[in-house]
């Protein structure tokens, strides 16, 4: 056995022993956290116990998160606008390429799904996707805030607040409705109203997806034995994946339905009825 092989062997043995000792200690009932998980999860959904003040109004912490996320995104956009965009090159660098890919992805999505009217749509789904993505990742930061009761609360993702999800879902529906009316007048209005379940489905899809990640995280953090290593995996699964998937899903759905309601109406040609004589029928 060479020195290198001996080193590897000893390292593996040491890691195994350490893991076993940690496991034995943590599975002792002494280290179980005595919390009411039902109350914890109910607070995560309803925010009854962790309201915060916002310009004198008592609001859910998700609203503070929303404004912070908007501030972060706009600050980033302003810095990019001032320092990066004026120095754009014809052959892009890495950061320029990322920006162009992000803008190009939603611009192309808008053009593909709604070829007749897409200027506003591209900008809207870009903003919505950026908001969902950054807002979902925001909960990984665990930004602390003082609640109305004077307790410290961790700011959640803006869309894990049902009001935030409803606002984005309804706004997307409103954008589709306005696009439909501008393109096809009453026909566009009718087409949009036909999709009456869309605001509810969009809102609750966002809320459910974001909330499920939050609840699982709460569940994991509630037990000390699960709070080692596992939160990293759970955080990646329920935060990063949701950030990408929900941003893409809302953008795609909005673009798709916007394209359907803004599609110009084409009158179908009437098929001429064939009058057959009795002799022709017999033949």
């Amino acid at each position: 056995m060479t020195k290198k092989q001996l080193g590897i062997f000893l390292t593996v043995v040491f890691v195994l022993l350490a893991a076993l000792i940690v496991g034995i200690v943590l599975t002792d009932g002494l280290y179980e956290k005595d919390v009411n998980i039902q109350e914890s999860m109910q607070d995560a959904v309803l925010h009854e116990g962790d309201k915060v003040y916002f310009f004198g109004m008592t609001v859910n912490p998700g609203l503070i998160s929303a404004y912070l996320v908007t501030g972060i995104i706009l600050l980033f956009a302003a810095l990019v606008r001032i320092f990066v965009i004026p120095h754009f090159k014809t052959i892009p660098g890495k950061f320029q390429l990322v920006l162009e890919e992000a803008v190009g992805l939603f611009d192309n999505m808008a053009k593909t799904n709604s070829p007749h009217r897409n200027n506003f749509l591209g900008a809207y789904i870009f903003a919505a996707a950026a908001y969902i993505f950054v807002g979902t990742l925001f909960e990984l930061v665990g930004f602390p805030w003082q609640s109305a009761a004077g307790m410290s609360v961790t700011l959640p993702a803006p869309l894990s607040d049902i009001n935030g999800a409803i606002s984005l879902g309804c706004l997307s529906y409103l954008v589709i409705l306005v696009g439909g009316i501008l393109s096809n007048r009453f026909r566009g209005l009718g087409r949009t109203l036909k999709e009456f379940s869309l605001p509810i489905s969009m809102s609750f899809r966002l809320f459910g997806a974001l909330l499920s990640g939050l609840l699982v995280s709460e569940l994991v953090y509630s037990y000390l034995t699960l709070s080692f290593v596992l939160p990293v995996l759970v955080g990646v699964l329920f935060t990063v994946m949701h950030a990408l998937v929900q941003a893409y899903v809302l953008a795609t759905l909005t673009a798709l339905i916007y394209g359907e309601v803004t599609e110009p109406y084409v009158k179908k040609p009437k098929q001429a009825k064939k009058h057959q004589s009795k002799s022709e029928v017999k033949a």
Binding site: V45, L46, H47, E48, F54, M57, V59, N60, L63, A66, Y67, V69, T70, I73, L74, A77, A78, V80, R81, I85, F88, T90, L99, E100, V103, G104, D107, G122, A123, Y124, F126, A127, A128, A130, Y131, P158, D161, I162, N163, G164, I166, S167, L168, C170, L171
Partner: protein
């Protein structure tokens, strides 16, 4: 409201998103898309220019080939004309040579006829001289008039004989 739904907070969320949308559109989306569109237009223009130049080059090549074909045809035409001219000239020379040869032959024949006539005349003269000389010699024996008469008779007979043969 159930599920902690609050209209005021929904409106606050909407206001937040509208601010975000307006800011992102003005600060990021619009300038980046404008840059991308300008770059695409630039490359499309370059592509169109290249295609136009290729088309022009193709047109020039076709024009050159057409002119080349026309020049070949013209050269062939001129060659045919030259050949035709040469043939005509050869024919003309041949005819002229034949005419000259005919005239030479005719002149030669005429000259020969004249020579023959002259030779005959000379021969007659010589014969007459000989006859005269022979007559003079005969006169020594006979009278000159008789001899002369007999000579004329003899010559007449000879002429008749020649005329009958002819």
């Amino acid at each position: 409201m159930p599920l902690n739904i609050d209209w005021q907070q929904i409106l606050l969320h909407l206001l937040n998103f509208v601010i975000l949308f307006a800011g992102l559109w003005l600060l990021l989306y619009k300038p980046v898309r404008k840059f991308m569109n300008e770059r695409r237009q630039k490359y499309e223009k370059m592509d169109a220019d290249a295609q136009k130049k290729t088309a022009e080059a193709e047109e020039s090549r076709a024009e050159y080939e057409r002119k080349l074909a026309e020049a070949d045809a013209e050269i062939e035409q001129k060659r045919a004309d030259a050949r035709k001219e040469l043939d005509r000239y050869e024919t003309m020379r041949k005819n002229a040579a034949e005419e000259e040869a005919s005239s030479i032959v005719a002149a030669a024949r005429e000259s020969a006829a004249r020579e023959k006539e002259r030779a005959l005349s000379d021969a007659r003269g010589e014969i007459a001289g000989l006859v005269t000389e022979a007559t003079e010699k005969l006169v020594l024996k006979e009278s000159a008039s008789e001899a002369y008469d007999s000579f004329l008779d003899a010559a007449e007979r000879a002429e008749k004989k020649d005329g009958g043969n002819a």
